[in-house]
C-alpha cells in the first residue's frame, strides 16, 4: 500500500466524518425550524442570525450538564450503549459512493471510502448492529421504562429488517450486484433510476427506513407519552446527546442510502451531454447527491411533523401482515417481469 493512497483515504474518511457530524448537528436545527414553519412560527432564531449557532449552544449545554449514572445500572454497559449507537451510526457511510472520481494531476481519487462488493450487505449489517446500542442502553439503565423501550426497539427492528431485506432482494434482482458503486453506475441519467422499476420496493424500503431510524411515526422505543423517553430515560449529559446525535446520523445515512439505491446517487439528468470535464461532472454530482440527501432528510422531518405515532399493535400489524407480504409479492412480480422481459424483448 503506497503512502499517497493511505493519505488519500484518511483525508476522505476525515472529510466524510466531519461532513456527517456537521449535517447531523444542523439537522437538529433544521428539525426545529421545519417544525416551526409547519406550525406557523419561526423556530429557534435567537442564537446568531437565523439561529445558526443554536446547535453549538445545545452541544455546549450537553457538555455542561451533570453526568448521572443510576446506582442500580450496569456501569460498563450503560456507557457502552451510546458508544455503540454513535459508532454504528458513523461507520455506515464508509461504503456510500459520494461521487465519481476526481483527477488531480495524474492521481485518480475515488470519492468512496471503500467499494466492497457486498456494500448492501455491509450496510444492512451495520443498521442491524445499531439496535444493540439502544438495547444495551435500555437494559443497563435498570429502569422498567427504559427496558420497555429497548424491548420495543429490538422487536421493531427485527420486524422491519425483514421487510427491508425483502425489498432489497427485489432491487438486487434488478441490479444483479451488491456493490453500491455499481448500483449507482447503472442508474446514470434519469430514466435508469431504480425508482422507476421498483416503486413498490422503494415504498417498503422507505417505511422500513423510518422504522429503523426510530423516527415518527415509528418512534415507539422513545415514545414520550407512554415511556417518558424510553431507552434514553436514564441518560443525561453528553450520553443523551450521543443517542440523539446517532439518530440524526442514522437519518442522514439512510437518506444517503435511499438516494443511492433508488434515486441514482450522484447521477443527474444529461450529465454526459453538457460537455463538461470529468472533474466538473464529479463535483456537480456530489452536489446533486447531497441535494437528494437533504430532500430525504426534509421528508423525514416533514413526516415527523405530520403524522401521529402508531400504536404498537398497529406497528406490528403493518410490519408482519402488510409490508412482508407486499415485499414478497414484489419479489415475485419483479421475477415475473424480468423473465417476460428476457424472453420476449
Amino acid at each position: 500500500m503506497e503512502l499517497a493512497f493511505v493519505i488519500e483515504k484518511v483525508v476522505l474518511v476525515t472529510l466524510i466524518f466531519v461532513v456527517t457530524l456537521v449535517i447531523a448537528m444542523y439537522s437538529t436545527l433544521a428539525e426545529r425550524k421545519v417544525a416551526g414553519f409547519m406550525q406557523d412560527r419561526f423556530g429557534p432564531d435567537r442564537a446568531g442570525p437565523f439561529g445558526i449557532l443554536q446547535p453549538l449552544c445545545d452541544g455546549g449545554k450537553f457538555f455542561f450538564k451533570e453526568e448521572i449514572i443510576p446506582a442500580g445500572a450496569h456501569k460498563s454497559l450503560f456507557i457502552l450503549g451510546p458508544t455503540i449507537a454513535i459508532i454504528t451510526a458513523c461507520i455506515g457511510s464508509a461504503v456510500i459512493p459520494w461521487g465519481q472520481s476526481l483527477t488531480i494531476g495524474d492521481r485518480v481519487i475515488e470519492l468512496q471510502v471503500t467499494d466492497v462488493n457486498i456494500g448492501v450487505l455491509y450496510m444492512f449489517g451495520v443498521v442491524a448492529l445499531g439496535v444493540y446500542g439502544i438495547m444495551l442502553g435500555g437494559w443497563a439503565s435498570n429502569n422498567k421504562f427504559s427496558l420497555m423501550g429497548a424491548v420495543r426497539a429490538a422487536s421493531q427492528s427485527i420486524s422491519y429488517e425483514l421487510a427491508m431485506g425483502l425489498a432489497l432482494i427485489a432491487l438486487l434482482m434488478v441490479t444483479q450486484t451488491l456493490s453500491l458503486k455499481e448500483i449507482v453506475e447503472q442508474q446514470s441519467g434519469f430514466v435508469n433510476w431504480n425508482i422507476w422499476v421498483q416503486p413498490l420496493g422503494f415504498l417498503i424500503f422507505l417505511v422500513c427506513a423510518f422504522a429503523e431510524c426510530n423516527r415518527v411515526p415509528f418512534d415507539l422505543p422513545e415514545c414520550e407519552t407512554e415511556l417518558i423517553g424510553g431507552y434514553n430515560l436514564e441518560y443525561s449529559s453528553m450520553k443523551l446527546g450521543l443517542y440523539m446525535f446517532s439518530e440524526y446520523i442514522n437519518m442522514f445515512v439512510s437518506s444517503a442510502l435511499m438516494a443511492t439505491l433508488y434515486f441514482g446517487g450522484y447521477n443527474f439528468p444529461f450529465m454526459y451531454d453538457l460537455g463538461l470535464s470529468q472533474n466538473w461532472i464529479t463535483i456537480i454530482g456530489v452536489i446533486v447527491f447531497f441535494a437528494k440527501i437533504f430532500a430525504f432528510i426534509f421528508f423525514f422531518m416533514w413526516i415527523r411533523w405530520t403524522l401521529p405515532r402508531f400504536r404498537y399493535d398497529q406497528l406490528m400489524n403493518l410490519g408482519w401482515k402488510v409490508l412482508i407480504p407486499l415485499a414478497i409479492a414484489n419479489i415475485v412480480l419483479t421475477g415475473v417481469i424480468t423473465i417476460i422481459n428476457d424472453t420476449f424483448f
Partner: protein
C-alpha cells in the same frame, strides 16, 4: 326515561357517531398520509404571524392598562394625598401606603398637605383592573405604563415610589439652579 339515546334533539345538529370498520383506502394509510402532508406543507409556506417581540412591538390598545404611575401636577408636585381610596377600592389588596404630613418648605414637592411617604403596589397581586385609577379623587394614579416585566424574586415585584412616581421632567430648570 329522561335523557338517554332516545332523547329528542332540539337543535337538529345532533350527529350520530358510528364506528365503521376501515375501508381499503383507509387501511393502506397512504391517501390519508398524503392529505396530511399536503396540509403541513401548505403551512410551511404560509406567512408567519409571529411578532418578534423585543425588536418589533405590537401597538398597545388605547385603553391598555399597564404599570401604574403616580402623577405630578403641572408644577411637578406629587398629586397623591394618601387618602387611601385606591387601596380601599383595590379588589386584590395590592396597595399599601404610609401617609405623612407635609412640612414647611416642601410645598414644591407635594401638592396637598398630606402625602404618601411610602406607596407600594404589589404587582404580583394586582390584577390590572383599573379600579384604583377610577377611585382616585386627585387624578394621581393612572395605569398608563408598559407591561410589568418579569423578575427573579418576589420582593422585587413590590414597586415603591421610586418606580411608580413619574419622573420630574421639568425638575432641573425649576429647582436645581436655586438648590
Amino acid at each position: 326515561m329522561v335523557g338517554g339515546n332516545d332523547m329528542q334533539s332540539l337543535s337538529n345538529r345532533k350527529k350520530v357517531f358510528e364506528q365503521k370498520p376501515m375501508g381499503f383506502w383507509e387501511r393502506i394509510y397512504l391517501p390519508a398520509i398524503f392529505k396530511g402532508l399536503s396540509i403541513t406543507i401548505k403551512h410551511f409556506f404560509k406567512p408567519i404571524p409571529t411578532v418578534r417581540y423585543p425588536e418589533v412591538e405590537r401597538p398597545y390598545s388605547k385603553n391598555f392598562r399597564g404599570q401604574h404611575s403616580l402623577k405630578r401636577d403641572e408644577e411637578g408636585r406629587e398629586r397623591c394625598t394618601a387618602c387611601g381610596l385606591c387601596a380601599l377600592s383595590c379588589p386584590a389588596e395590592a396597595i399599601t401606603m404610609i401617609a405623612a404630613e407635609r412640612q414647611k418648605g416642601e410645598e414644591h414637592l407635594y401638592r396637598e398637605e398630606k402625602y404618601a411617604a411610602v406607596y407600594e403596589i404589589n404587582m404580583l397581586r394586582c390584577i390590572f383592573c383599573g379600579l384604583c385609577e377610577e377611585a382616585c379623587p386627585k387624578e394621581a394614579i393612572y395605569l398608563d405604563g408598559p407591561h410589568v416585566t418579569a423578575d427573579y424574586l418576589r420582593k422585587d415585584f413590590i414597586y415603591g415610589k421610586d418606580k411608580l412616581v413619574e419622573p420630574r421632567f421639568d425638575y432641573k430648570e425649576k429647582h436645581e439652579p436655586t438648590a
